[in-house]
């Protein structure tokens, strides 16, 4: 299914399945001095699909020199022996690692939390953490959506409060909004996280878990992407929903993003090098002090 709906706060220029050759045609503004990064989710199979997506990702970097990638969890499926770190991560992304691209991982439900000690995931031994790229006024917040306890919520509130970055981007595994027939939206998680995101002006949320690509219509001023198809695919799994701004469940995909001031450009590319979605997000100041508190437990 490739579905497109009109959206309000998002001016998206949707590409009509452009076939652009092996490397794909990266058509972001691609300006110098901007924050450039890639988004991949549910990657760690070590299979041919992961390799194919990695190949496209590497080719895309030839045109669009992103400096880091965020991983949305399920970084290693199955066993996690030392050889698995090679076959499911180091080998597929070798060219990118060799080029100095940094990978920032979040934990999925298939990940042993001890992955946080693996240097190439840049988690510094933490299940949740934040980082700020050198360029631009952007801070990323990597969360462990498997285990959102009070300690993590307190940490998140503190970090969000302390951040003066224009762009606050959260990424984690379980989507707060999804049209997936397999999983769907995680309501319990949304009840806890969304009020904090709204209160502290988070503009963008990136999640995986669902093995397809879906861009969600802005919810409470926040744009959500589900991008869990960089190695696994649940074909035809996007159900009918008013949430969907754009959905793609017929192939594998990754997302490129570029932030320039108040503007974020994105381009979603399939394993075949086709652009399946692209557009622009204008940062919306969602900060609100009114009643934006997590739902207390019943």
């Amino acid at each position: 299914m490739v579905r497109s709906n009109p959206i309000v706060a998002l001016s998206a220029t949707l590409a009509a399945m452009l076939t652009v050759g092996a490397a794909g045609q990266v058509s972001l503004p691609n300006k110098s001095g901007t924050v450039k990064f890639a988004v991949i989710g549910d990657t760690g199979t070590g299979g041919s699909e992961q390799m194919q997506v990695a190949k496209q990702l590497t080719a895309a970097r030839g045109q669009f020199p992103f400096t880091f990638a965020v991983m949305l969890g399920d970084n290693l499926y199955g066993s996690e022996r030392p050889t698995d770190f090679v076959s499911k991560f180091e080998r597929p992304y070798k060219a990118l690692l060799d080029a100095g691209v940094k990978f920032y991982a979040a934990l999925g439900n298939h990940d042993d939390p001890n992955q946080r000690f693996y240097k190439h995931f840049n988690m510094n031994g933490e299940r949740y953490y934040s980082f700020k790229p050198p360029d631009g006024s952007v801070r990323f917040f990597a969360l462990d959506s498997n285990y959102v306890d009070k300690k993590q919520l307190d940490w998140l509130e503190k970090e969000l409060t302390a951040s003066d970055s224009q762009w606050k981007i959260a990424f984690f595994h379980h989507p707060l909004y999804s049209s997936g027939e397999k999983h769907g939206s995680d309501q319990a998680l949304r009840d806890q996280l969304e009020p904090l995101f709204v209160k502290h002006g988070v503009s963008l949320v990136l999640a995986g878990h669902e093995h397809f690509y879906e861009r969600i219509k802005p919810q409470k001023g926040i744009t959500h992407f589900v991008a869990g198809s960089a190695a696994k695919l649940r074909r035809g799994n996007i159900g009918n929903s008013d949430l969907t701004a754009k959905g793609f469940d017929q192939g594998y995909a990754f997302v490129l993003m570029e932030i320039d001031g108040e503007t974020l450009q994105f381009q979603t590319i399939s394993e075949a090098g086709k652009t399946i979605d692209q557009g622009t997000i204008q940062r919306v100041d969602t900060k609100s002090t009114a009643t934006a508190v997590p739902r207390p437990p019943r």
Partner: protein
């Protein structure tokens, strides 16, 4: 019962304990204090054995992470060779935990919470529910709904709760082993 109620419950128990011999003590609060003591006792063991295995620190060599994990699991298993179910989740503690979790899984409002737990759950029979058992490679680690976590007593960094089927698992994160579990945690 929410986290605040849990805190009040525990503080009542402390006050009663300090207040004198004749006062009636809250049995729930005492059971939760007992839980804290049992957790502290386990963590003393964990911390002592952790010093004897390769340290778990950031490395680009996953073999070192694995060596630390496997080493600690073996050391804990050897030290807790005779450990049995219920050594931490005693019947009194288990009864309180069931009551703490029940409001989040009952009725129509609990449907979403139960659904979330089932979605991530490993296939039945793939995870051995035994004290000292390793969570098997390849089996997903089911996420714990945040509203459920909010109702349970806080744990130290290296311990976590997980729910598999109707079991509540107490898991050592570093060692990847089951410290204790309670059946029929979710009704």
């Amino acid at each position: 019962m929410n986290r605040m109620a849990l805190a009040v419950l525990m503080s009542c128990g402390i006050a009663a304990t300090l207040g004198g011999q004749a006062q009636k003590v809250n049995p729930d609060a005492l059971a939760l204090q007992d839980f804290t003591k049992r957790i502290e006792s386990y963590m003393d063991l964990h911390n002592r054995l952790e010093k004897k295995v390769p340290p778990l620190k950031t490395t680009d060599d996953p073999a070192k992470i694995r060596a630390s994990q496997v080493g600690l699991a073996a050391a804990i298993r050897a030290e807790r060779k005779g450990a049995k179910q219920g050594e931490i989740f005693t019947p009194a503690i288990a009864a309180i935990f069931r009551r703490l979790m029940y409001p989040e899984v009952k009725g129509a409002e609990g449907v979403e919470t139960k659904k979330a737990m089932k979605e991530d759950a490993p296939k039945p029979g793939t995870v051995p529910i035994k004290v000292n058992a390793v969570h098997p490679e390849g089996a997903p680690l089911p996420s714990v709904p945040p509203n459920l976590l909010a109702n349970l007593p806080k744990l130290p960094e290296d311990l976590e709760y997980r729910i598999i089927g109707h079991y509540l698992i107490l898991r050592d994160v570093h060692a990847n082993i089951i410290v204790d579990y309670m059946p029929n945690a979710i009704r």
